[in-house]
Structure formats: structure tokens, C-alpha cells
């Protein structure tokens, strides 16, 4: 499938920021599941500098403004050809070893309830079937409910609350997988919604999130717990990390601005 994507993020600073530094992870890699046909990333109309692959294998770049900035507009857009490979990440240069993704982070630290959920869901199962069962169990335990949580909600809080969005499902899935000794990571990307087979997808957030779990015989396999599926040709993968802040497609350091206004939107449509 050919997906046409436009992802715009707009910041306004009042008073103007003295200095803005941005790190951008907005470059879909070539994998067996996706090939960018055209892609551009600009900040206020210019291409950021120093684009290179980071330690996770994802590309990133930096944009800096030293002499004040009132508005910053980041646009990532282009056409990506996608194929359904049932969520298996292939044809991608692996940098960090899977064991890296066993680390606990504050947002993904398992508590007793998570450990119990993971054990129960996967009892008697191994490998890919255990991962599917865990993903289902996470979705069963947590309703999809925009606004129920914040960016700082932890996996343990999510399970306790029983509601959340894709970030929360993903954190909980990662936390459960790691508690079982399986490497798991947070993936950020784009998703084309409204295709009938995927009725209740996130429209609240500018990007979508899902997890990748390391399966010995297959490598990294994506699991979108929110939608109870493995990523299909509706998905475009951007970047991975230990949790949401670590995988963030945009990171900034701003000095001097009192107030920041943010607008962001993503449009993903099928290209002709």
C-alpha cells in the first residue's frame, strides 16, 4: 500500500525563546515492511543538521536556533510504501542488542499486579503465542479511554485504573514482557485509521505507539495491544526506545520562553 503522510508540529513561544534545540526522530527506515518513496523533514522550512543513525538504529537529526525563535514549525511528510509482514521487523540494521531492552524505567517498572497478569496470561505458552496472549491480556485489562491518563502515567497506574490510550497499553505490555524476562521496547509511528477493520484507533494523539517484543526464532515482532493486532501495512514505523520519552520523535530544550503553545496533527491517507 502507498501511504501519504503529513505530520505537522507547531510551537509558539511567548516571549520568543532565546534558544531552541530540537532532536528529531522522524525518519522512517527502509525495512521489509516499509520503503519511503519520498520523505522530507523541515523545521521552519529548512532541513535539520547532522542526520545519523542512533544507538537503536533509528535516524535522528538536530535543529538549533541561537538567536531567538517565536515560532517553530516542524513538518515531516512524504509517501511510504508498506507491506503486511505480520509485524515482524526484517531488513533492519540491528544496533542495540535485545538484552538492552530488559531495562526497567520509571514508566515501565512492573509491580506485583503486572507480574501476576503476565504470568497468568502466558501460563503454558512460549515464544510468539505467549506474546500474543500477553498483548490480549493487556487489552482486556485496560479499556481504551482517551483522557483517562497523562503522559506521566506509569504501567502500574494504568493497570490499577483499567483505562488508558495506546501509550498506556504499550507501557503495560512492555512492563509485563520484561517481567517475564523478554526484551521489549516502545515503538512510535504512524497509523492509517478508519479502514473498517480497525474501528477504535487513536485519533487523540499525533502519532501511534505499539510494542516490539523479542522472539528468539523471529527477532523483533510488533504488537499493537490497543488494536489487538500485529502491525500491518497500515503502519509506518519511526523510532523505538525503552519507553515513551526514550522513543519520543521530538525532543527539545528551550530557554527563555515563558509559555509554549503546541499544535500537532497527523494525516495518513492512502495515496493513489
Amino acid at each position: 500500500m502507498l501511504l501519504s503522510i503529513r505530520h505537522r508540529t507547531f510551537y509558539r513561544y511567548d516571549p520568543p525563546a532565546a534558544r531552541v534545540a530540537l532532536k528529531l526522530r522522524l525518519y522512517p527506515a527502509v525495512t521489509a515492511a516499509q520503503t519511503p518513496r519520498s520523505w522530507s523533514v523541515t523545521v521552519n522550512g529548512e532541513a535539520p543538521h547532522m542526520r545519523l543513525a542512533n544507538g537503536y538504529g533509528d535516524e535522528e537529526s538536530v535543529w538549533l536556533a541561537h538567536d531567538g525563535a517565536e515560532e517553530v514549525e516542524i513538518v515531516a511528510e512524504g509517501v511510504v510504501e508498506t507491506r503486511d509482514v505480520h509485524g515482524v521487523l526484517r531488513g533492519w540494521r540491528m544496533a542495540a542488542r535485545p538484552a538492552m531492552f530488559l531495562r526497567k524505567t520509571p514508566l515501565t517498572a512492573p509491580d506485583e499486579a503486572i507480574t501476576a497478569l503476565a504470568k497468568e496470561a502466558t501460563a503454558g505458552k512460549t515464544g510468539i503465542s505467549a506474546a500474543h496472549a500477553l498483548s490480549e491480556a493487556v487489552r482486556d485489562a485496560v479499556d481504551y479511554r482517551p483522557g483517562a491518563t497523562t503522559a506521566k502515567t506509569t504501567a502500574a497506574e494504568t493497570l490499577n485504573l483499567g483505562a488508558g490510550v495506546c501509550q498506556d497499553h504499550t507501557h503495560l505490555l512492555i512492563s509485563g514482557a520484561r517481567s517475564l524476562g523478554a526484551a521489549a521496547r516502545y515503538v512510535v509511528g504512524y497509523l492509517m485509521v478508519g479502514e473498517g477493520d480497525q474501528p477504535e484507533l487513536s485519533t487523540e494523539q499525533e502519532t501511534h505507539a505499539w510494542a516490539e517484543i523479542w522472539i528468539d526464532s523471529l527477532g523483533w515482532v510488533g504488537f499493537d495491544a490497543s488494536n489487538r493486532i500485529c502491525p500491518t501495512d497500515h503502519y509506518v514505523r519511526l523510532a523505538a526506545g525503552l519507553d515513551a520519552p526514550d522513543a519520543a520523535p521530538l525532543r527539545g530544550s528551550i530557554t527563555g520562553a515563558a509559555e509554549e503553545t503546541l499544535e500537532a496533527d497527523v494525516q495518513v491517507t492512502q495515496a493513489q
Partner: protein, 468 residues
């Protein structure tokens, strides 16, 4: 207990003959008076002491002991070889874990010790620092337990401090007792700043053409080691900068100067990884140079030590250094490790818990003598409280036997008395390896104390290495 001056048989060791004669000729009362004079000088020139990470009052004067600690040329040759060997293996380990991880795949070092260590930075995976050097100044803490028995207590691969005190104690000794340095062949140490600068210049980044510009980056004058930062910048003849003096533009790092921006090639940073670059590490930090890591990773600047070098000096990783030496260098370790039990291993944990009263237990990520249990000195309640901490997070602790550190004659308690000492030599790693003779000798001035940290009542003394 091994006495550095009188040896195992009570006969003055040859290395100490000059010192013994000097003590006899000068007399204890005169030496005590001279100590007051030395302290007055320290106070006047403003040397204050707080070893990095040890806390305490940064404006406090460190106790200075006039009686030097001496190594003969033969002893030093062995230490020199052992320290360089260790520094080489530690750098090889760092390169390996940020690349293919062969030592992990071989099952020699457990993966979790590396990948779950907060000091292991994913941002460094695949990065190739110039010369494959990650730790450019390796500080290796060494203790002696017998005539021929030296043991490594700890490796410091990030920014080991204290070298300014080594140089200042020598300067003050030469000023107060010039005749000693005329009559005895003591190897000089004052070329350290030149050697350090040379080392830092040798690891200039690929983008640097011509003479590299080196700077020292300090967190600022409130930092406990600020004296050392400014001292080294001054002696090396390089600029001392704070993060806000630097910025990134056009893929390079620049320093603001009164003559306009000046390009920077090598940063000897005395600031933690977390505070290097707010768009890569701690986003909440106001310190740091945004974009610095990207310039580093593209070969536009060299950061010394490399970010993430701390994964090699962890107290749990320490246990594996002799194996690293075998694995990377195909050699046997010249310097021994102290026998160490890892509480992460169930068998070793039960041994530790059963013998707490005889052991020293340390936090894997601790430093500065804080948070330790010294079994033989602890009460039953203290031991029980510590045991429950170990049981809660066993992997956070290691245990070692209580060592009989060697003692060196020191001016303490109104006379000359034997006090325990350790040694921190500084090994510089650039295109070549350089070891300044001696190191910083720390002395536990409290009677019977084995803790030499300045925050725990330790002092410093000059360290002599004699020529052939």
C-alpha cells in the same frame, strides 16, 4: 600489617633510608612545626579539598602529612605495568560492549551487568571515539597488604579527581625541604599537565585539522572539585569553560570568547554524563550543550572521558577485570583484585550474609566511603539492618574481606605513628599510555581507621618514586 618503612622484619627498607635519616635529623618537634607552616601555605594559596563525589565542606583544608610515601624503582616498574595493563583492558572492554559485545556473548561477563547498568548509554552504541579510547584518565585505587602484595580496590574510568593535590603536595614539599630533593633521586611529577595536554591533543576528532583546541568543562565554581578544574586548566594553558560558554553550530562545537566564537576540538569534561546534552540525556537539566552528542557522534569533537565510560568502573564489573585482561590481551593480570563476593549470585550471597561480621560490604554504585558496612566495626544492630538492605536488593552489593592495609609513618597524634594508606595513580590514555610516577597517597589519620576518604578524616601525603 605491613609497614611501608620498616617492612616485615622491622629493618628500615632501602627505599625509606633517605626518609628515615631526614626524620632523625629533623626531629619530630621540628616536623610538627613545619606541618603548621605547610598548612598556612595551603590556606594562603587557597587549596581546598573535597574529592569529587565525597561530599563534605568544599572549603575545607585537607590534612597534609609531611612524611612522604616511597616506592623504589623496582616496585614502581611492576605497578606501572600492572596499571597500564588494566587501563588497556578496561578500554578494550568499553569498545567491545558498545560494539559486538564479544565478552558478553562468550558468557564471561553477564549481559545484565552491562545492559542494565545505568552507566551504559545506548547513545554510545556503535560510536567509535578516536583511537578507541573511552577512558582517557584511568584512576586505579591500589592498596598494599604485604612486601609484594598489591591489590586493586577500585577502577575509576570517568573523571578521577585528586591529581591537583598530588602536584600541590609535591610543590610544597620541594619548597619546604629543597635539600631532600637535591640529595635523593626522586622522580619528578611536574610534567603531568604537559603529558595530560599531549594525551588530550592526541585524541582530537577526525574533523580537527591543525592544532587541536582543548578545553576543560566544569559544572562551575560551586562544584567541590572546582579548584582542581581551574588548576589543571591553568597548568595546561587551556580554557576553563562552563556548558553555557559552549554552543553547537554547523556540526562543530564553539566557545564564546571576547574575540568571537572559537572552535573547540577536545573537551576534558569534569561533569557527569547526565548533564552533557539536554536533548540527549536529562531533558530537565539546564546545564549542558544542546546538540553536543550529535557533534561527538559525527566526529566533530572529542569528549574525554567518553560518555558511558562509567560502565567499566562499576564495583560489580570490577570483579571481571582479571578475566577481561585474559580475554582481550591474552595476559595474566599483574595486579590482583581483592577477593570479592557478588551478592547477585545466590551462593555468594549466602556466604556474605553468614559472614557479615568479618566483611566490608559496599554498594555497587556507591562511592566516597558512604553507605559501606565495615563488619568488624559494626554493632549487631547495624549488621542486621544492613543485612535486610542486602536481602532486598542483593545485586546492589558486593562484599570483600577486611584488608590489612599497609601503614606508613605519619605525623599523627602529636608524634610519628603508623597510619594506613592507599594510592591512586593516574594513567593517561591517548595514542600512547602515560603514567605519572606515583599518584595521590591518601592516609587514614585516625588511629586504626582503614578509611582514607577525605570526607572520613583522611589526609594526603607526597608520593615518591625513586630513580634507579
Amino acid at each position: 600489617m605491613f609497614n611501608e618503612m620498616s617492612g616485615e622484619d622491622g629493618v628500615t627498607r632501602s627505599a625509606y633510608e633517605g626518609v628515615a635519616r631526614w626524620i632523625d635529623e629533623t626531629g619530630v618537634d621540628a616536623l610538627l612545626l613545619k606541618t603548621e607552616e605547610a598548612e598556612a601555605i595551603f590556606r594562603r594559596i587557597g587549596i581546598t579539598f573535597a574529592v569529587y563525589g565525597e561530599g563534605g565542606d568544599p572549603e575545607r583544608l585537607i590534612p597534609f602529612d609531611l612524611i612522604p610515601r616511597v616506592f623504589d624503582a623496582h616496585e614502581w616498574r611492576r605497578l606501572d605495568r600492572g596499571i597500564k595493563q588494566r587501563a588497556r583492558a578496561l578500554n578494550a572492554f568499553l569498545w567491545d560492549v558498545y560494539h559486538r559485545g564479544e565478552i558478553l556473548k562468550a558468557g564471561i561477563v553477564p549481559e545484565r551487568l552491562v545492559y542494565q547498568n545505568a552507566a551504559f548509554l545506548p547513545e554510545m552504541i556503535g560510536v567509535d571515539p578516536p583511537g578507541r579510547v573511552y577512558s582517557h584518565i584511568v584512576g586505579i585505587d591500589i592498596v598494599r597488604t604485604g612486601e609484594n602484595s598489591f591489590q586493586v580496590l577500585e577502577d575509576n574510568c570517568r573523571t578521577p579527581s585528586g591529581v591537583s593535590y598530588k602536584l600541590e603536595t609535591r610543590a610544597i614539599m620541594m619548597r619546604m625541604f629543597p635539600e631532600l630533593f637535591q640529595s635523593l633521586s626522586i622522580q619528578p611529577v611536574d610534567d603531568y599537565p604537559d603529558l595530560l595536554r599531549k594525551t588530550l591533543e592526541e585524541v582530537a576528532p577526525p574533523a580537527c585539522k591543525g592544532d587541536p583546541t582543548v578545553v576543560i568543562m566544569t559544572p562551575g565554581s560551586l562544584n567541590s572539585a572546582y579548584y582542581e578544574h581551574s588548576f589543571l586548566a591553568d597548568r595546561m594553558g587551556v580554557d576553563l569553560v562552563e556548558p553555557q560558554d559552549l554552543f553547537v553550530d554547523e556540526g562543530r562545537v564553539w566557545m564564546r570568547t571576547t574575540q568571537g566564537p572559537k572552535r573547540v576540538d577536545v573537551i576534558y569534561r569534569r561533569i557527569d554524563d547526565d548533564f552533557l546534552d539536554p536533548i540527549t540525556f536529562r531533558a530537565d537539566s539546564v546545564l549542558g550543550v544542546p546538540g553536543l552528542m550529535q557533534v561527538y557522534r559525527t566526529g566533530g569533537v572529542t569528549i574525554c572521558s567518553a560518555p558511558g565510560a562509567g560502565v567499566a568502573d562499576d564495583k560489580a564489573v570490577y570483579c571481571y577485570v582479571p578475566e577481561m585482561i585474559r580475554f582481550y590481551l591474552g595476559e595474566t593480570a599483574i595486579l590482583e583484585n581483592v577477593p570479592t563476593w557478588r551478592c547477585s549470585e545466590p551462593d555468594e550471597l549466602s556466604h556474605v550474609l553468614a559472614n557479615l561480621g568479618d566483611m566490608v560490604v559496599k554498594e555497587v554504585h556507591g562511592s566516597g566511603g558512604y553507605g559501606m558496612l565495615i563488619g568488624p566495626k559494626a554493632t549487631a544492630e547495624e549488621i542486621e539492618a544492613y543485612a535486610s538492605r542486602i536481602r532486598a536488593e542483593p545485586a546492589d552489593f558486593i562484599a570483600q574481606p577486611t584488608l590489612e592495609l599497609s601503614a606508613s609513618p605519619s605525623l599523627a597524634g602529636g608524634g610519628i605513628a603508623a597510619r594506613h594508606v592507599d594510592l591512586r595513580p593516574y594513567c593517561m590514555v591517548g595514542a600512547d599510555m602515560r603514567l605519572a610516577p606515583g599518584g595521590l597517597t591518601r592516609v587514614a589519620l585516625r588511629e586504626g581507621s582503614l578509611v582514607v576518604n577525605s570526607s572520613q578524616g583522611g589526609g594526603v601525603k607526597d608520593t615518591w618514586v625513586l630513580s634507579e
